[in-house]
């Protein structure tokens, strides 16, 4: 009896988590593929099998391509800046200066505050007669419709994503910086290297695994960007700031076109998978110190 129950013990411990993950991850995961071959257009309660129709419609929809391009602009704009700027900030706040902890806390505050509140705060800054337009007017630049001009809307939202992410990645880098051996910097000092050379020769090679981590996390979260856009622009104007997740959300929950939206979701899944693989492979090859 004892042996019998002991055999099952591991599974009993696993069971509660397994139930949740099966119900809310594995079944939905499999179902997302099935849904993408169904249509909810005619009857929301009675989806029909339509084969590849959703995918064909998707690839013929200019809006889909537009959101895909926007998402990649987002990725290319946001990720390198987050990876580099957070590192620079981490190095800056890693110095022994009086009151440095207060600065760390202040830089971290955007991370902690709800993205909805942050979006509202920035919407107010970007307003037509807002403070940002005042600042640029000091440089004799005429007013810009930061969120209302299709040429600027996407970039304005990207700036908010970067602003909100800096503190998060700063902390990840800070943790890694403590493991860089101090004597290497001293060796650089003897060689007469300046600050920039010192960090390129010592810090960056040592932090390569962390830089990989930050690149992977920030690129995957760039692919998933949603709330900033929902709060600030609703994807507008003229789809200028609409990204793939926003498109999925809109088609699924506003137009109730679940099958079509699922097809878009499968495309997103494939992209995220490919990206994770590329990211990891790329950095594995570059693990050796550059210097």
């Amino acid at each position: 009896m004892y042996k019998y129950s002991k055999q099952f013990t591991p599974y009993l411990f696993l069971a509660p988590a397994a139930v949740i993950l099966i119900l809310f991850f594995f079944i939905p995961f499999l179902e997302s593929f099935l849904l993408s071959f169904q249509s909810y257009r005619n009857d929301i309660y009675n989806p029909q099998w339509v084969g590849l129709e959703n995918y064909i419609n998707l690839f013929h929809a200019p809006v889909f391509w537009k959101t895909l391009v926007n998402t990649f602009i987002y990725l290319i704009g946001v990720v390198p800046l987050l990876v580099v700027l957070s590192l620079v900030i981490a190095i800056l706040v890693n110095q022994k200066l009086q009151g440095i902890k207060i600065f760390r806390v202040m830089i971290y505050i955007p991370v902690i505050v709800s993205i909805v509140v942050a979006g509202i705060a920035w919407k107010w800054i970007y307003a037509d007669s807002g403070i940002l337009n005042y600042i640029i007017s000091l440089f004799n630049i005429s007013k810009i419709g930061w969120l209302t001009d299709p040429r600027f809307a996407l970039y304005s939202v990207m700036a908010v994503t970067i602003w909100k992410g800096l503190g998060y990645y700063m902390v990840i880098y800070l943790a890694a910086l403590t493991s860089v051996p101090k004597d290497l910097y001293e060796a650089c000092d003897i060689d007469g290297a300046n600050t920039l050379q010192k960090h390129l020769a010592v810090t960056v090679p040592h932090l390569m695994p962390t830089i990989t981590l930050v690149s992977v996390i920030s690129s995957i979260s760039a692919m998933k960007v949603f709330v900033e856009i929902y709060v600030m622009t609703q994807g507008g104007p003229l789809n200028a700031s609409k990204t793939i997740v926003y498109y999925i959300y809109q088609r699924a929950f506003e137009n109730l076109d679940m099958g079509y939206a699922s097809a878009a979701g499968v495309v997103l899944l494939v992209i995220v998978m490919i990206m994770s693989i590329i990211n990891v492979k790329f950095f594995e090859n570059n693990k050796q110190p550059i210097a």
């Binding site: 013990t9 591991p10 599974y11 411990f13 509660p16 988590a17 397994a18 949740i20 119900l23 809310f24 991850f25 079944i27 939905p28 995961f29 179902e31 997302s32 849904l35 900030i89 800056l92 200066l97 600065f103 830089i107 971290y108 505050i109 902690i112 505050v113 709800s114 909805v116 509140v117 509202i120 705060a121 107010w124 800054i125 307003a127 005042y134 007017s137 602003w163 800096l166 503190g167 990840i172 943790a175 995957i220 692919m223 998933k224 949603f226 709330v227 929902y230 709060v231 997740v245 959300y249 699924a252 929950f253 679940m258 699922s262 979701g265 499968v266 997103l268 899944l269 995220v272 998978m273």
Partner: protein
């Protein structure tokens, strides 16, 4: 003070202004009386006609207390379930040998690769099928909000890592003393992994507290709104009344700001733990 230090402080001050400036500007707007021009050029940071009437006004019209209570219920239960389920599932993964262990391990790992946004549609359909919606009852509504986030791979791996660090001798001594597996888990292991539990609790709480996408999908009744959903709604309710919108946004920020400033040391160290060990 040498030049290098001065430059460092200058950079830090600029960063601090960029980081908290948007919130200060929001606060300034919220404190301006209705007879003061909030679009004045040049902008005025310190209110000339200081008032709290925007705060009282927005408080009267928006059921903030209800939103905050809802957010506390959802975040609190989410934290409890995550600690419990992660610690339970992590225990056999760290300390036992059993059939299918590798498969379980990789199945958990696989969940990291798939973003929630990709599968939110079938999750929504699942919640509908199980009737976990707020139109059925408050309880069902909360269940639908919480259960999809009751456990995740990050929590399981964090706890597994913590359990792996406990010496085998403690376990053996407990077995000799006649403890069964469940006792060992609860009385020996759980007290020893308190730091990991604290880390997991803090990050789960912040995540649940700020979650917006999922509640905005499943909630239909205003009384069930969590804080982020209620705050986004301000924009619709007060359209261009930026004094009220600002005041509401500031009110919404106070709870999480208090939480953060009280525990800020854990945030810096906590992120470290998760990041290094994952």
């Amino acid at each position: 003070m040498n030049l290098k230090k001065i430059l460092a402080y200058a950079a830090l001050i600029i960063l601090a202004i960029i980081s908290i400036g948007p919130f200060l500007w929001l606060l300034s707007t919220a404190l301006k009386a209705s007879d003061e021009n909030i679009f004045a050029y040049p902008p005025i940071l310190i209110p000339q006609h200081f008032t709290l009437e925007n705060f009282t006004g927005v408080w009267k019209q928006i059921p903030f207390m209800g939103y905050i209570i809802n957010s506390f219920i959802v975040s609190g239960i989410t934290v409890f379930l995550n600690l419990l389920l992660s610690a339970l599932a992590a225990y056999p993964l760290a300390r036992m040998r059993f059939k299918g262990k590798n498969m379980v391990f990789y199945a958990v790992l696989a969940t990291i690769m798939v973003p929630f946004q990709v599968i939110m549609i079938p999750i929504y359909l699942m919640v509908l099928k199980l009737n976990l919606v707020d139109s059925a009852s408050d309880f069902a509504g909360f269940a639908g909000l919480i259960l999809p986030f009751a456990v995740n791979a990050f929590g399981i791996f964090l706890m597994r890592q913590a359990f792996l660090g406990i010496p085998k001798e403690l376990e053996e001594a407990a077995i000799i003393d006649g403890c069964n597996t469940y006792d060992i888990w609860l009385k020996i292991f759980m007290p020893l992994v308190k730091p990991a539990l604290a880390t997991l609790a803090i990050f789960t709480f912040v995540g649940a507290w700020s979650e917006f996408l999922w509640p905005s999908i499943v909630l239909t009744r205003r009384e069930m709104y969590t804080l982020p959903v209620g705050i986004n709604d301000l924009q619709g309710v007060f359209s261009a009344n930026w004094r009220y919108i600002s005041a509401g946004a500031i009110i919404a920020t106070i709870p999480i700001l208090v939480f953060f400033l009280g525990l800020q040391r854990y945030f810096i160290e906590g992120t470290t733990q998760g990041a290094v060990k994952e």
